[in-house]
C-alpha cells in the first residue's frame, strides 16, 4: 500500500472521529469566538493609545482566535493519539505495514480539518462583524493557509506529547503551558506598545508573536513582506520541529512496544 493511501486512510479515520464527537469540536469552535467578542470590546480603549496601529480592536485581535483554535487542535490531535495508545489501537497498527510517517501525518488529519473549519468560521464572523481585510481576497486566503499551518504545527506538538506521555490527561495538563505562549505574545498590544521590559522581551523571543503579527499584518496593514516572511518561517519551523520530535518519540514508543 502506498504511503499516500495509508495517510489518507488514517486521516479519514481521524477526521471522522473528530466530526462524530461534537463535544470535541464545538467548544474549540465557539470558545475563541466568545473570547473574541468579549475581549475586542473590553480592550477597545487600547485603540486610544498613541501609536496604536488601527481604530478597530476587533481587526487587531482576530489573529488571537486563529491561534487559540490552533492550540485547541494540538489538544485534539494529542488526546486522540493518546486514546489510540490507551486502547491498544497503536499496537495493533504496528503489526500492519503502515509506515510511521503515514501514521503521524494521518493522525493530524482531524486537527487539520478542524483547523481549516475554524479558520473559515472565524474569518467569516470577522467579515460579518465589519472587519476589512487590507490585503484583499489574496490576503484572506493566506490567512487561512497560515491558520491551517499553525494548526499543523501545534497538532504535531500534541502528537509528540501524546507519544511521550501516553495519556490524554498528560496531553491536557500541558495545555496551560502552550496557552502561556499565547498569553506572553503580542496578542493584546503591539510589541512597541508593551510597557514592561521583560514582558516585551518575552514577546519578542516568543515565536507565537510572529505568527500573530503575520496574520494581523494581512488584516490591518496589507502586504508586509517582513511580517509574512517571519510568520511563515516560524510556522514551517514549528511544523518541522514538532513532527521531527513526534517521529523520534514514535520510534521510542514502538521500540518499547
Amino acid at each position: 500500500m502506498e504511503v499516500a493511501h495509508q495517510v489518507w486512510l488514517i486521516a479519514r479515520r481521524s477526521l471522522l472521529r473528530t466530526a462524530r464527537q461534537p463535544g470535541t469540536w464545538v467548544p474549540p469552535l465557539l470558545f475563541p469566538l466568545m473570547l473574541m467578542a468579549v475581549n475586542s470590546n473590553g480592550l477597545r480603549a487600547a485603540t486610544h493609545l498613541p501609536g496604536f496601529p488601527t481604530h478597530s480592536f476587533l481587526a487587531f485581535f482576530i489573529p488571537f482566535s486563529f491561534m487559540q483554535g490552533a492550540l485547541f487542535a494540538s489538544g485534539i490531535a494529542g488526546v486522540d493519539l493518546a486514546r489510540d495508545i490507551d486502547t491498544g489501537f497503536l499496537n495493533r497498527l504496528a503489526l500492519t505495514p503502515v509506515r510511521g510517517s503515514a501514521l503521524l501525518l494521518g493522525q493530524i488529519g482531524g486537527a487539520l480539518g478542524l483547523g481549516a473549519a475554524q479558520a473559515v468560521v472565524y474569518l467569516s464572523v470577522a467579515l460579518a462583524a465589519g472587519v476589512h481585510i487590507d490585503a484583499g481576497v489574496g490576503g484572506a486566503v493566506l490567512i487561512l493557509v497560515l491558520a491551517v499551518g499553525a494548526a499543523a504545527g501545534f497538532g504535531g506538538l500534541g502528537l509528540f506529547l501524546a507519544l511521550r506521555t501516553g495519556s490524554g490527561e498528560g496531553v491536557q495538563s500541558m495545555f496551560p503551558l502552550l496557552f502561556f505562549l499565547l498569553l506572553v505574545s503580542s496578542m493584546n498590544l503591539p510589541r512597541n506598545l508593551i510597557e514592561v521590559g521583560w514582558f516585551r522581551d518575552l514577546a519578542t523571543i516568543n515565536p507565537v508573536s510572529y505568527l500573530i503579527e503575520a496574520l494581523r499584518s494581512l488584516v490591518i496593514q496589507g502586504w508586509n513582506g517582513e511580517a509574512l516572511g517571519l510568520g511563515f518561517g516560524f510556522t514551517a519551523a514549528l511544523i518541522a520541529v514538532s513532527m521531527l520530535l513526534a517521529a523520534r518519540q514514535l520510534r521510542v514508543r514502538m521500540t518499547r512496544t
Binding site: 470590546n41 473590553g42 480592550l43 498569553l183 493584546n188 498590544l189 506598545l193 514592561v196
Partner: protein, 256 residues
Amino acid sequence: MSSRLEVAVALAYRQTTVLLKNPSLFLPPMLFPLMNFVAFAGGLSRLRHVPGFNFSGGYTAFQFVFVLLQSAVFGGVFTGFGIARDFERGFARRLLVSAPERGGIILGYAIAALLRWLMIATVLTVVALIAGMKVGGSGVDLFGLYGLAILFNQVGLLWACGIAMRLRTIQAAPLMQTPVFLVLFLAPVYVPLHLLQGWIHAVARVNPLTFLLEAGRGLIEGQPTQLAAAFGTAAILLAVFMVWARTGLARAERAG
C-alpha cells in the same frame, strides 16, 4: 452538630490530601491565575495611559484584584470537578451511605475549596508583591478584599457543587466553568467600567461581579467604594447557591 462537623473536617482533609498528592490536579489551577496575572499586568500596563484611566494604585494592583477574584471562584469550581470525579468513582455514593450527617458533605467540600484557594492566594500575593504591586489600602481594607474573595470562592464552590451533584459526571465540567468564565470576562477586566463602550458596558453595569471588582479595587487602592453593594451581592449569591447546592445534594440522595 458535632457529627456534621466531623464529616466536614474528614472530607476536607481527604480532598486536600488528594489534591496535594496529585500535581496534575494541583498545578493547573495554581498556574492559570499566575499566567493571567503575568499576561495582564505585564502585557497590558500601557492601558493606564488611556485617557480617563483614573486608578491611582497602578496597573499591577488593578489587575491583581481581578486575578485574585478569578482564582477564588475557580478554586471553588475546580473543587466542583473533584466532587464530580468522586461521584464517577463511587466515592461520593459510599460517602452518602456512611456519613451520619449529610449536611457535612457540602461543608467539607466548602472547607476544601477554601484551603485550596488560600494556597493559591498566598502564592499569587507573593508574586504580585515581588512584581512591585503598590498597596494603598490599610490592613482593614485588605481584610475586606480577601473577605470578598473568600465569599466569591464559596459562591463558586456552591455553584459547581450543585451542578456536580445533579449530573454526577466529570463531563459536566464545561457546564461548571463556562458560565463562570463568561461572568468574569463580562466585567470591567482591563479598564474601569466607565471606559468600556458598547454592549459590554451595558452588560458589565448589571454584572454582579462588577460590584465585587470595583469594591476590591477600591480597597487595594485605599479608597473603599461600593462596599455595601459588593458584600450585599456576595451574600445574596451565597444564599442562592447554598439552596442550589443543598437541593443538588437532595437530588443525589434520591438518585442513590
